[in-house]
């Protein structure tokens, strides 16, 4: 590993902070399109980070991977989701009262970030600089995504939550394993893409049958 210039280290820190802010952006917003914009920024930052790591570690595959993420995750997936939200025939395009009010969800996400930093300390990963910076970030991305799925009422927000978890996972993979072999990388991307397509089909079906994509009317199968 060549000597990392100080500027690169605080560059890493800056990019980590920006990524967290973008994730908080998703948590705070209410409208469908706001989520998707926030998600798009997050993915762009993510691909920037990947390029930065590629620059630092000098592994050329990472450049392809960051290009791939930019292409698929930042452009195609949001476009698909925008198309879906336009086609939804439910008039109001925003989430009125999620299970957890926005203010509390911000506090909870901050708590989750703190927890992921505490968890990262437990793990005996100290050697590499990039890992020690980005490991807690990926954990927090993962837990915030999980929290979004739990606390929101609209199906679309749950998809966005799912994608945030995927981003956290992807960051963790790139940081820790410097991108395992390309086949697995492509396999991952394909999975996420198909996942989004299927969930958008389901979204269409839901809006046709329930004419609203609120999770409330998805509770008929239960043990009462």
């Amino acid at each position: 590993m060549d000597l990392i210039l100080p500027t690169q280290i605080d560059l890493l820190h800056i990019s980590a902070v920006i990524l967290l802010i973008a994730t908080f952006g998703i948590v705070v917003r209410r409208g469908f399109s706001d989520w998707l914009h926030a998600y798009r920024y997050q993915t762009i930052i993510l691909s920037g980070i990947v390029a930065l790591i590629a620059l630092i570690t000098g592994i050329w595959e990472l450049y392809i991977v960051s290009a791939l993420t930019l292409g698929i995750k930042a452009i195609i997936i949001p476009k698909v989701l925008f198309y879906v939200t336009k086609k939804l025939d439910s008039p109001i395009k925003l989430e009125i009262n999620p299970y957890v009010s926005l203010r509390i969800s911000v506090i909870v996400s901050a708590l989750l970030v703190a927890m992921s930093y505490f968890m990262a300390l437990q793990l005996p990963i100290s050697s590499d600089e990039t890992i020690s910076v980005f490991l807690p970030v990926s954990f927090s991305l993962f837990f915030i995504g999980l929290f979004i799925i739990i606390s929101r009422r609209k199906a679309l927000s749950q998809i966005v939550g799912l994608l945030t978890i995927e981003n956290g996972l992807f960051l963790f993979a790139v940081v820790v394993t410097h991108g395992f072999s390309l086949i697995i990388e492509i396999g991952l991307m394909a999975d996420i893409l198909i996942g989004v397509i299927i969930s958008s089909i389901l979204l269409f079906r839901m809006s046709q049958t329930f004419d609203s994509i609120d999770i409330k009317n998805l509770e008929s199968l239960r043990d009462d």
């Binding site: 929290f147 799925i149 606390s151 999770i215 998805l218 509770e219 199968l221 043990d223």
Partner: protein
């Protein structure tokens, strides 16, 4: 040795012949003969096999193994042969009986299934008794319960048959769970599943054998119908067809007793040190409670087969008293008394299987000709079905334990072993066992009352309903079936030494086998004659007195005529059958005395000729019901309580996706914390 084995193969061949024929002769006219004749031959051969085993040495061989630990091995020693005898004798009589009894099911259902299951049921019982490996014992044990379950719900059109079938299956499965746990406990010590390894006592520590025996006792007790776990028996036996309920009650309960005897005898789970007394006392206490509770419920039961099922619980209780006493005496090294108690309980097992089989068959023939089991609308059947009445009378005299027949001997032996309690050193024990005598004596009294009621109401006086009026005697084959058991009742009663020698040689007990006409004598401590009984002698006294009195009456009285005339009706004119005592009213005084137990409740509705005038009553209708405290109080509470708890747990399936993801997050964090702290110690 080899010819014993060949008999065994022929037995299996005949039974499987019965099964296959049962399957393929579905609709034909003579299907009953095809299914039941093979089973008659096979059961006859079983009797011969068991008798030969008594004399020659045991069969012990391994056939094949399906896994390195599960090998199908057979071990027929004296103990197994004794129970084989019971199975053989009763299924021989019942198969002849069902040759014509199964005609009753000809019209409604494909009764070839009945024939097929009947044969499979008997084979599985035989296999249970002879198998020597835990896995195959449990497989055949549950196969026996499964086939008897299918037979219980044979008429599954009416709802409560299904419900009782389910209770039966679940309770037996609970019992098997306990038996399984006890066998596996023994397996953990010996490392192999075969019973031989359980037999060499050295390597199994004492406390393991204690726990294993207690678990096995509860497991086998459920199947035998011990009190707290008996609720399935009065439900399951009556709903099965009568030839099957005869087999179930007479033989299947004994297979459960076989299990306990195997544990007591072979795996000698009971060491001979005084700290085993609490086990023996426990068995005696449970036995006396089951006896008392069983007979109390039999007394007020109006369905004849339910009453007989309850009386099976009582008799199983008596058998347990005998077993418990033999354990208590063994614990105090009083070997001769422990042998006496053991002979008493085994003799009672043999007797009970005989007369209970007889009684259920007679109940079956009543059901066959009058199509009803409720004794309230029977009556006067002795005139229409004289032979069946005779058989029922013999059966009831035997079951009550009245002198000439075999029940008396069993009871007499159990009473003697109870009376011999005074030789036990510790005082507290003597007093507790004295209470057991009180319970046992009360049971004998109540049994007498029950069978007076059952016999009196069903057979004597005027018939109470049209069903009873046009009843007709059952076909001859059924009578032969019953006659076999009735004659063995009388035989064992008059010459009890046959039974006692049989048991002594089967279990090779250190009891000096008395000469054929020798009295069954027990000497007390000061070797005076504590008690002795010579049944043939009693018979001689009977005959001589009869001849004497007959001569006396003939000489003094001279020839007198007997005139038939109506019963004394205080001049009111012809009495309808309404005026005679019904079954409920006959037991009413006793129900009043044991009120706290029965919680009996009479609801009376009276209707009047005219509303205003309350004195002119048109009719009074009294329905008196007793509640079964076990069903409602004990089981009702337990089931509703557990359902309440289960209901709470299942609420987690709430239907909300967010909640489901929350569960995953919580489990993740909980496990991480569980690990997180783990690493830092």
């Amino acid at each position: 040795m080899s010819e014993n084995l060949s008999i065994l193969y022929i037995i299996f061949a005949f039974f499987s012949l019965g099964v296959t024929l049962g399957l393929f002769t579905r609709g034909q006219k003579y299907h009953a003969y095809f299914t039941y004749i093979p089973s008659t031959f096979a059961s006859f051969l079983t009797i011969i096999l068991s008798v030969t085993i008594f004399s020659s040495e045991d069969i012990h061989l391994t056939f094949f193994n399906i896994q390195h630990l599960f090998d199908f091995e057979i071990f027929i020693d004296g103990v197994a042969a004794f129970f084989l005898l019971i199975i053989g004798l009763i299924s021989f009589a019942v198969s002849i009986y069902s040759l014509s009894y199964s005609k009753k099911f000809d019209d409604k259902k494909n009764n070839s299934a009945l024939g097929m299951l009947f044969n499979v049921f008997i084979i599985s019982m035989i296999l249970v008794v002879i198998s020597n490996n835990v896995f195959f014992f449990l497989v055949f044990w549950e196969l026996m319960s499964l086939t008897s379950f299918f037979l219980v719900i044979y008429e599954h059109e009416n709802k409560n048959n299904l419900k009782s079938g389910l209770t039966y299956l679940v309770m037996t499965h609970l019992g098997t769970g306990f038996i399984f746990a006890s066998f596996i406990l023994m397996y953990t010590q010996t490392g192999s599943f075969s019973f031989d390894s359980f037999r060499d006592v050295a390597i199994i520590p004492q406390y393991v054998k204690d726990i294993a025996f207690v678990l096995a006792f509860v497991g086998f007790g459920t199947k035998a119908g011990m009190v707290p776990l008996h609720i399935w028996l009065p439900k399951a036996h009556p709903s099965a067809p009568s030839n099957v309920s005869a087999l179930m009650s007479a033989v299947m309960l004994k297979i459960a007793i076989y299990g306990i005897v195997r544990y007591l005898f072979d795996f000698n789970a009971i060491g001979s040190s005084p700290d085993y007394v609490w086990l023996g006392v426990g068995i005696v206490v449970i036995g006396s409670i089951s006896a008392l509770v069983g007979i109390l419920y039999a007394l007020v039961e109006n369905d004849i087969k339910r009453a007989l099922a309850f009386s099976s619980i009582e008799n199983v209780g008596i058998i347990f008293i005998g077993l418990g006493l033999s354990v208590v005496f063994a614990a105090f090294h009083l070997l001769s008394l422990s042998v006496l108690a053991f002979i008493a309980s085994m003799f009672h097992t043999l007797n009970h299987s005989i007369f209970k089989g007889l009684l259920f068959m007679t109940a079956g023939s009543i059901h066959y000709s009058t199509h009803t089991k409720n004794i309230e609308d029977l009556g006067g059947l002795i005139k229409k079905m004289p032979w069946t009445a005779m058989m029922f009378l013999i059966g009831s005299i035997a079951i009550i334990g009245l002198p000439p027949l075999n029940g008396f001997i069993g009871e007499w032996l159990t009473l003697q072993s109870l009376l011999a309690v005074f030789q036990i050193p510790s005082n507290i024990l003597q007093v507790t066992l004295a209470f057991a005598i009180l319970a046992f004596a009360l049971t004998i009294g109540l049994a007498g009352a029950t069978f007076v009621r059952l016999f009196g109401i069903t057979f004597l006086s005027k018939s109470r309903s049209s069903k009873a009026i046009n009843a007709v005697e059952v076909p001859r084959l059924m009578l032969i079936g019953k006659a076999i058991l009735a004659s063995s009742c009388i035989l064992l009663g008059i010459l009890p030494f046959i039974g006692i020698n049989l048991i002594v040689s089967a279990f090779d007990l250190p009891y000096t086998p008395s000469s054929p006409f020798e009295t069954i004598s027990i000497t007390n401590t000061v070797d005076g004659n504590f008690a002795s009984l010579l049944m043939p002698g009693v018979l001689i006294v009977f005959i001589s007195v009869l001849v004497g009195i007959f001569a006396f009456v003939r000489i003094i009285g001279g020839k007198t005529k007997t005139i038939k005339y109506g019963t004394w009706d205080c001049g009111f004119g012809n009495l309808s059958e309404k005026t005679q005592y019904t079954a409920t009213s006959l037991a009413e005084p006793i129900r009043r005395i044991f009120g706290i137990f029965y919680k009996s409740h009479n609801d009376i509705d009276v209707d009047f000729y005219a509303k205003e005038n309350l004195y002119l009553k048109k009719s009074i209708h009294v329905i008196s019901t007793t509640r079964n405290i076990f069903d409602e109080k004990l089981y009702g509470k337990v089931i509703s309580g557990s359902l309440f708890v289960l209901d709470k747990i299942r609420k987690i399936q709430s239907g909300k996706v967010n909640a489901y993801i929350l569960y995953i997050m919580i489990t993740l964090i909980a496990l991480l914390l569980f690990v997180g702290f783990g690493t830092h110690e």
